[in-house]
């Protein structure tokens, strides 16, 4: 199934959420607020804060090496889980993010 079939944001998130091992998905809008989250409030806020710092650092690193390049996906491996961050910066410098937390079996 191609992604264009999903017309609704909720549906897309559902699919990510039901992927193997995924514990939670968070969508962050340009004001660093979560628009959708399947985690509880405090965890959501924690992940958003962490993701923001990490993406800012990683992006500046990527850009420093090559100004034409940009950060596409950031994967953080921890002892218990893998955190996948997909950031996107729009032309007018606003940033959206999808954060998915995946536990290993």
């Amino acid at each position: 199934m191609s992604s264009t079939d999903t017309s609704h944001a909720g549906e897309i998130l559902d699919r990510i959420q039901h992927h193997k091992g995924v514990r939670g998905v968070i969508v962050v809008n340009s004001d660093s607020m979560s628009v959708r989250s399947t985690l509880d409030n405090s965890a959501t806020v924690q992940y958003i804060g962490m993701a923001k710092t990490l993406t800012t650092m990683s992006r500046s690193l990527v850009r420093d090496i090559n100004p034409q390049d940009d950060l596409a996906i950031l994967r953080v491996r921890t002892k218990k889980s893998e955190i996948i961050i997909a950031p996107e910066r729009t032309a007018d410098d606003r940033e959206y993010q999808v954060i998915a937390i995946q536990d290993y079996e």
Partner: protein, 438 residues
């Protein structure tokens, strides 16, 4: 925090764009074998041994020596016993049992977190192997105390008292006793003294007095005639200076004596003995085998945690590695560092051990690398005072503590070489344990 807004077309666009990428990454992550079998070493690796802390209790004004150290089972708290070894007559020292919690953010190196005043020199201490707040102390005047350092006030929970049924000489070692094979699951207390007695006590919930369960006496009779150094009478008592239990057989222990004797003993011994002092409980002679003796006092014995028969002894200026099944030592080392006061096996590497020396050094031996010389020499006292005790941390394998004659305790962080298990370590230990049949 979650803002429920109408899905803006912008957001939907974004989601549609990143969705395939996120799904692809999630897929990759579940299928990835990149980290299979990968174990992170969370400690930074280093080649040098660092002194992390130098602890002293300023209130004691360097008048007392560190006689014994004990780590609690969590590995965070270090207890230090203060006393003196050079008594000419009665002990009139005001002594202390001090504890430091190394996890505390505001660690004060000059003042202990807790200092318990004890009216006589403390000669030996031992934390309970499971309950982190219970600690035993044995004193110069022969009393055994049990403290609960978790309590706000009145930390003393039991004592043996001095007098009938107790030690009449300084206590040389106290320890907790647990024999998983016995029916009694409760921990008992064992104390050994210069009066040749090894007593077993029970802690009761209701009473502040330790209850004497049984006793052992080590007598000259236990030593075969050809191994006797002195011409003492057969029933004269042999002062016990140190004990160490076998790690596999919890009824077997090794004892060292003031006269240089090294004995294999059993808590199941049935040979009855007589002691003038102890009338209320049965008294046995614990000795089952006598090893080739030293010509001076034994200061320390330590059974190997990785081999059922090997144990180390430190006495006068000589280290010996004995096999429990053999009269003569398997290995003798003379470090020429003055008297050797303490020897301890590493918990993690079977061939590594630490020795506390009279010249202020702590020697670390690695029998795989060198059987004659230490692989590392630590400066346990900058002013050359003796090191009386050294203890590995049983749960934090990188830590070693040493205590010196000026009342200072140093906590060392060992390097990977001395800590991480190496292939063939066990083989080398086995080869040292091979019996020599003459």
């Amino acid at each position: 925090m979650t803002v429920q807004e109408e899905d803006s077309p912008e957001l939907l666009d974004f989601l549609l764009r990143v969705y395939p990428a996120v799904m692809a990454e999630l897929d990759k992550s579940t299928r990835s074998h990149a980290f299979d079998g990968y174990e992170v070493d969370w400690e930074e690796s280093s080649n040098s041994v660092q002194c992390l802390h130098t602890l002293s209790h300023a209130a004691l004004e360097e008048k007392l020596e560190v006689t014994c150290l004990s780590w609690n089972p969590t590995g965070a708290v270090l207890a230090v016993a203060y006393g003196r070894y050079d008594h000419q007559d009665w002990c009139t020292h005001k002594s202390s049992l001090c504890t430091w919690n190394l996890d505390r953010r505001s660690l004060n190196a000059n003042k202990a977190d807790l200092a318990i005043d004890i009216p006589s020199c403390v000669m030996s201490i031992a934390f309970h192997p499971i309950i982190p707040s219970l600690i035993l102390a044995g004193t110069f005047n022969g009393a055994v105390y049990v403290y609960d350092i978790g309590k706000e006030d009145d930390t003393l929970i039991a004592s043996s008292g001095v007098g009938e049924n107790s030690h009449k000489d300084p206590i040389s070692q106290v320890m907790w006793l647990n024999d998983p094979a016995s029916k009694d699951k409760k921990f008992k207390i064992m104390s050994a003294g210069g009066d040749g007695k090894i007593l077993i006590w029970r802690l009761s919930q209701s009473s502040k007095n330790l209850k004497l369960l049984s006793g052992f006496v080590v007598q000259t009779d236990s030593i075969p005639r050809n191994l006797r150094v002195s011409k003492a009478r057969g029933d004269s008592l042999v002062g016990v200076t140190c004990l160490s239990f076998s790690h596999e057989d919890k009824t077997t222990f090794v004892a060292g004596s003031e006269g240089g004797g090294v004995f294999k003993c059993s808590t199941n011994a049935t040979t009855t003995a007589t002691s003038e002092d102890i009338q209320s409980v049965p008294v046995h002679s614990p000795v089952t085998f006598a090893f080739h003796p030293y010509l001076g006092p034994i200061h320390s014995v330590c059974c190997s945690p990785h081999h059922r028969n090997l144990f180390l002894t430190a006495g006068t200026d000589t280290l010996r590695l004995y096999n429990m099944l053999q009269l003569m030592p398997s290995l003798t080392i003379e470090p020429s560092c003055g008297y050797l006061y303490s020897v301890r096996w590493s918990y993690t590497r079977p061939v590594v051990f630490a020795v506390a020396c009279g010249n202020g050094k702590v020697l670390l031996y690695d029998l795989k690398a060198n059987r004659i010389n230490p692989v590392m020499t630590l400066d346990g006292c900058s002013k050359g005072s003796s090191i009386f005790t050294a203890e590995f941390n049983p749960s934090r394998k990188y830590l070693l503590a040493s205590g010196n004659g000026r009342g200072e305790v140093k906590v060392w962080k060992l390097n990977d070489d001395l800590v991480s298990h190496k292939p063939r370590d066990q083989d080398i230990l086995e080869s040292l344990a091979v019996l020599h049949v003459d």
